[in-house]
Amino acid sequence: MESISQLTDLIARGETSARATVEAALDRAETLNESLNAFLAIDREGAVKRAEEIDAGQSAGETSLHGVPIAIKDNICVRGMQTSCGSRILGPYQPPYNATAIDRLLQAGAIVIGKTNCDEFAMGSSNENSAFGPVRNPWDTSRVPGGSSGGSAAAVAAGIVPVALGSDTGGSVRQPASLCGVIGLKPTYGRVSRYGLVAFGSSLDQIGVFARNATDAALVLQTIAGRDPHDATTADVPVPNYADALKSDINGMRIGVSRALLGEGLDAEVRAAIEKAIDAYKDLGAEIVDVDLPHAKYAIAVYYIIATAEASSNLARYDGVRYGFRAEEAPALRDMYRKTRDEGFGPEVKRRIMLGTYVLSAGYYDAYYLKAQKVRMLLRQDFANAFARCDAVVTPTSPTPAFKFGEKVDDPLAMYLNDVYTVTANLAGVPGISVPCGLSSEGLPIGMQLLGPYWSEANLLRLTHAYQTAHPFEGTPKIHA
């Protein structure tokens, strides 16, 4: 499938139109959805109408994403389409406004073709927590696509769209990118506006980008990054030209490796692929330095206190009053809340709300929540110390390639441990990217993760581009357009 610049060139030269491009993407989405379940909603009518407007020149002329079809995770608000968050509790909800990231994509000429499936409220690492059935991995449909943004990852991997948006609270962009063999970028906290992203863990959430190459990821990040008055946590930091950053080589860049993170619990084939990628960077002129992140081993414990605490608070708003689903036959207000939330939420969301309620409850706040915030500070210092010595740290993205459906579904703690390499970036607020770096003996993608200092997305994309240019990712998923 064409890259963004190839598509926009073809459209600009009149060799194809936005309408033909978008109709082809819609056809692929509809056909492949039977096997992948990647989309919860496909907006043929709206997308074709917008493509016609773009072809007729009713939208701004030469734009960076002119006529480019894009898929959006179903927890990011797009006006006129559903936002379900993979949950029943939102019922037929249609947001009356666009997320800021969506407004910016539309302004750049992108066309939203549909909303992608995800774990309910972005809580999960396998997509098995979607109320509408899991997305299946295009490389092997008996395996999970990862989560929570599994639909967006699968849509890009299967060649339905060149790029998609997801959200990443503890790895929900990077981990499915790794399991589906595509790039997944989580920006620095405050780089992309969260306005219109349904809140899960407000101090951790960032909108992220799925793409097949660094250039496309750079173009989308360029479009959505920057200060937004609607989100007070976006930072007033200039947005660099990401595409320009890809042009220079990586000679002399320093890449940190934490040997402790390549030890116990890591699949041997994943370890071998990461070692090979480290050697590849050496060959490209990077300097490899040892770094230590002594508190990274506590990251899962810290994360599952802070993320659930924030979720229990954020999800209190789903009460059947202002929008979404309301349970019938509740005689009094309190019963209505309880029944609505019982019938509307799935088991993982309930588990996390309860865990978060517990760690915030009287008598336990200091022991759990405050303690976790202190260890989070130690983890931030670990990264500051590491980045004093290197430009990026390389780790695996996921300890294993894609696993089978049902393998971990009855053991929540085992499922949480999948996130061991990804949650650190959200706790520290630093950017991270997952890059395909090989296939397992079973033909499943393996991803490496690069983590960088705050606002270093340009460097991460440069490192990704250099690696992909020297080592193009081989292989095509079984389910592919």
């Binding site: 405050g190 007033d236 059947g320 309860m354």
Partner: protein
């Protein structure tokens, strides 16, 4: 920390969640196991550590996010009520508060 089924019931009450007997039986050992896992943090000495207070970077903390106190456009009553399960005369109608 062992979380009992009656603890689960109390937590569910706090969280406005109605849960079945089956869920109570499932959640008690699962949440016990997770809480026991996170208690490994007790082994770390944090006596001189200031807690993190959110996700902001230093640049994010320095960003001025207040604005002039001027009226901005907003959704308006009609649009705000369009998605309500039971709107009535410009209000959100709910079941009686005292049961």
């Amino acid at each position: 920390m062992n979380i009992t089924e009656s603890d689960i019931e109390k937590i569910a009450q706090l969280a406005h969640l109605e849960i079945t007997d089956e869920e109570r039986k499932m959640f008690a050992p699962q949440i016990s196991e997770i809480v026991t896992y996170v208690e490994q943090l007790n082994a770390i000495d944090t006596s001189v550590v200031e807690p993190a207070l959110g996700g902001l970077t230093p640049e994010g903390e320095r960003t001025e996010s207040s604005r002039r106190d001027e009226i901005q456009p907003s959704l308006g009553q009609k649009v705000a009520l369009e998605q309500a399960p039971d709107p009535a005369s410009g209000h959100f109608r709910v079941p009686k508060v005292l049961g």
